[in-house]
């Protein structure tokens, strides 16, 4: 090749072409979206987040959550994300217009978090006894005499079984989080982890696609994979704190590192703090001490609780009529039990 001019022009031109094509034109196409709202101008979605949520996003970035967790739900025709109940509909560009940075993610060593906030129990503030109605109640504790294994969302025996004293012996054990694995095959992995007091090993595991005895519920049971015997309802703020502090106390199979540096162990001055973690087993602090979240941890959890793409978008077809029947919506999955 002779002459520099064609070389320079070519080098310049090829990248200019790609830069225009893959960044400038998309920016022109979807770079200036507005939130959608209904006719009255109310019910605006999405809304800008601020304060703790914004700071929480920075904690999320700083600690590299994105390297294991995605925040995008793929369409039902291209993947099984919706069937996994990670959302009722696929994610759309409009869902992210206020996110900065945006954490779409490229790896799922952990679950998708696009709708983690939507999965929180409705009244997550009040530590009501219905905490027992969390999915914890399902196969392990809810080893119902009938042999039926109620899924987390199924209304019937879950709450009563969990509230019954039969469930009590499971909690004191250090790793008393018998992860029931609703896999199609009776999983040998689940059994050894289960404390002997749990009478469930022979029970047919729940298959999300085939709700066994919960015939009343025509919809598939949300297959929340993690089942907790901890006190806070699953995906509530308190649950997130326990999970961040000690992931394997909630799910023995978890591969998540603990984020204990986001928590503070301190002596109880006069009364225990309201936000002290409800830990069990080996994680419990010494007598007279308590473990409380730092401000960063609170922000991170506030951020996680804010992740919610359950609001319908006009441009996206929802897989399930989400707001119509709360029982099927992930947002309220733990809720039906107390409602009953």
């Amino acid at each position: 090749m002779k002459g520099l001019a064609p070389l320079f022009l070519g080098i310049f031109g090829t990248l200019a072409f790609s830069w225009m094509g893959l960044t400038v034109i998309p920016n022109w196409q979807i770079g200036h979206l507005n939130p959608q709202s209904d006719e009255e101008g109310t019910d605006t979605y999405p809304m800008p987040q601020s304060g703790m949520v914004e700071r929480g996003a920075h904690v999320y970035a700083a600690n590299g959550c994105i390297y294991c967790h995605s925040q995008q739900v793929r369409a039902d025709y291209s993947a099984d994300d919706i069937e996994r109940k990670w959302g009722d509909r696929r994610s759309a560009p409009r869902d992210y217009i206020f996110e900065r940075p945006v954490f779409l993610g490229k790896m799922r060593m952990g679950q998708d978090l696009a709708n983690i906030g939507a999965r929180a129990p409705v009244e997550q503030e009040s530590p009501q006894p219905a905490g027992a109605a969390t999915p914890a109640a399902s196969p392990a504790a809810g080893a119902a005499p009938s042999g039926a294994s109620p899924g987390p969302g199924s209304p019937s025996p879950a709450s009563s079984a969990a509230a019954s004293p039969a469930a009590a012996p499971t909690s004191p054990a250090p790793n008393a989080s018998p992860i029931s694995k609703p896999s199609t095959s009776p999983s040998p992995a689940g059994s050894p982890a289960a404390p002997p007091s749990v009478p469930h090993p022979n029970e047919p595991p729940t298959s999300p696609s085939a709700p066994v005895a919960a015939g009343a519920s025509p919809t598939p049971v949300p297959p929340w994979p993690e089942v907790t015997t901890g006190e806070p309802p699953m995906y509530s703020a308190a649950w997130h704190h326990v999970h961040l502090y000690s992931p394997r106390s909630i799910n023995v199979d978890s591969d998540m590192p603990a984020y204990r540096f986001l928590y503070q162990t301190r002596r109880i001055s006069d009364a225990p703090s309201a936000d002290a973690l409800h830990l069990t087993g080996a994680d419990m602090p010494r007598e007279g001490w308590e473990i409380v979240p730092t401000f960063d941890a609170k922000c991170l959890v506030a951020y996680l609780m804010s992740l919610n793409q359950s609001h319908p978008l006009k441009e996206v077809r929802s897989a399930a009529p989400a707001p119509a029947s709360p029982a099927t919506s992930p947002a309220s999955s733990p809720a039906p039990a107390p409602a009953k």
Partner: protein, 493 residues
């Protein structure tokens, strides 16, 4: 197909001792000594640090409680630290070192303005140091491949400007009309990088684009960094080293031109395939998938060209360390690209998009291809800078085999584990944690591969240290991997 014009073919060393061209080359080499060695030494220091971080990342992935209570050692910080040390510390600095040396040689002029390069190296090191420190202290920006906080990015950019302006200046002093293939790639790399980096920084931090477009810009940047920066330097180096070592011109100049331009055109359009099925207009992703498939054209032409050049000379890999590393890297480029095509197809991506397979892909590109080519070039260049030959053939062999087996095992583990992980993830009858549990044994295998790679890098760093201290062999014969039996072998291996 006239390849005679290539200024590569040099007379064998044995020909005329006091050959002027020979002297001139030695003179040029000597002028590059300080800057190139500075880049190489820094790069190798970063390589060692990055390797230690990598081992840590790999082990922590299957032992999540390992030292997790210390904020700056948490997995989510060490991982980007490792990645950035390798990308900006090791690969970029080593690549620039090789590129500087090649530029001086191919422009056939002594290195001018060395202070530009020295300042560039100092600032670049400073930028990487601040950036990695920032990540570990929790200052990461959260954009993959661009995690360095703003203060580090600015310093990197200043450092880069110094190096690139040097490259352009050197071009003005070049002698001879012909611009060799390697120079196309190097000039491309030197001009593409600042645009990529500036565009990435501007569109993400200065005037940030909205929402998901940040991810599009991020992957556009990351993919182009892989292809147009590292890929271009790697291919350019291979185009120099292979013909040089075997003493034979490149098979076809025209093929090389087709390869270069199709490479620049198609590989720059890839990137969005990593966002497959994400919240984007489908045309963006489809365009990138098509471009990825079209990269088969440059892969085929470049591969064919190298193969035909090497035809009949493959046995020389038995002796020449440079050739062995470079050919390994050039072959890996083909594998890397073909796997890239495979995992970009929608039907496959559905399964592997969120799995460890994409890590395998990055490592194939950055390590099996780029790093191996750069190792090869270092084995060629360092003796010419120092005036000593590599001390131990056995260490070079160990380095090669540990690297080759290490990266091979790692790729296999991550690909196999990634495919199984993705398949389980896409099977909603299995709980999610089944998919991560499936991949754990493969991640342990990856850690094993990491141990091999760590050993290989320490061996290389030790050997390089000996060379720096002037403890190489004093000899006019290069260090061969195996004793050369036959007389009359090409002497300038």
């Amino acid at each position: 197909m006239n390849a005679t014009g290539i200024p590569l073919k040099e007379p064998a060393v044995s020909a005329v001792a006091g050959d002027t061209e020979q002297l001139e080359r030695a003179y040029i080499d000597a002028s590059t000594r300080v800057p190139v060695l500075m880049f190489y030494t820094s790069a190798i220091a970063w390589l060692i640090l990055g390797t230690l971080l990598a081992g840590f990342v790999s082990f922590k992935l299957h032992e999540p409680d390992l030292l997790s209570n210390i904020s700056f050692l948490t997995w989510g910080r060490v991982r980007p630290a490792h990645m950035n040390v390798m990308v900006y510390g090791w690969a970029s600095m080593a690549g620039m070192g090789t590129a500087i040396w090649l530029m001086a040689r191919l422009c056939r002029t002594v290195l001018r303005y060395p202070l530009l390069l020295l300042a560039g190296a100092v600032f670049w090191n400073l930028g990487v140091l601040l950036g990695v420190g920032g990540i570990l202290l929790g200052d990461s920006t959260g954009y993959q491949w661009l995690e360095f906080p703003g203060y580090a990015a600015i310093i990197l950019f200043v450092a880069y400007t110094l190096v690139a302006s040097w490259a352009v200046l050197m071009f003005r002093f070049r002698r001879g009309e012909q611009i060799y293939i390697t120079q196309w790639y190097l000039l491309g790399a030197f001009l593409w990088f600042p645009w990529l980096y500036a565009a990435g920084q501007l569109m993400l931090f200065v005037v940030p684009v909205q929402g998901v477009l940040q991810s599009a810009v991020g992957w556009w940047y990351a993919n182009n960094l892989l292809f147009l920066w590292f890929g271009a330097i790697g291919l350019g180096t291979a185009y120099y080293m292979i013909p040089k070592v075997i003493g034979r011109p490149v098979y076809s100049y025209h093929l090389a031109a087709i390869g270069f331009w199709s490479y620049a055109l198609f590989s720059s359009w890839t990137g969005m395939q990593r966002l497959v099925d994400g919240p984007f207009p489908a045309w963006m992703i489809t365009a990138s998938i098509s471009a990825t498939i079209l990269t088969i054209i440059p892969v085929a032409t470049v591969g064919l060209n190298h193969h035909m050049t090497m035809q009949g000379y493959f046995p020389l890999m038995r002796y020449s360390p440079t050739l062995r590393f470079t050919v390994f890297g050039a072959m890996s480029y083909t594998i890397f690209s073909l796997i890239g095509v495979l995992i970009s197809l929608r039907s496959v991506a559905r399964y592997v998009n969120f799995s460890q397979a994409s890590i395998a892909y990055s490592h194939l590109g950055l390590y099996a291809f780029f790093t191996m080519v750069i190792f090869g070039s270092m084995y060629y260049i360092v003796p010419r800078l120092i005036g000593r030959e590599w001390r131990y053939a056995s260490l070079i062999k160990l380095h090669f085999w540990a690297s080759a087996y290490g990266i091979g095992l790692m790729t296999l583990m991550l690909l196999a584990g990634g495919f199984l992980q993705g398949a389980n993830m896409e099977d909603p009858s299995l709980v999610f944690s089944e998919s991560t549990e499936t991949v754990l044994p493969y991640l342990r295998g990856r850690s094993l591969a990491g141990i091999l790679l760590t050993a290989s890098h320490f061996i290389f760093a030790y050997h390089f240290g000996l060379m720096l201290l002037g403890l190489g062999r004093k000899s006019t014969v290069p260090t061969f991997l195996n004793p050369v039996e036959a007389e009359g072998e090409e002497a300038h291996l």
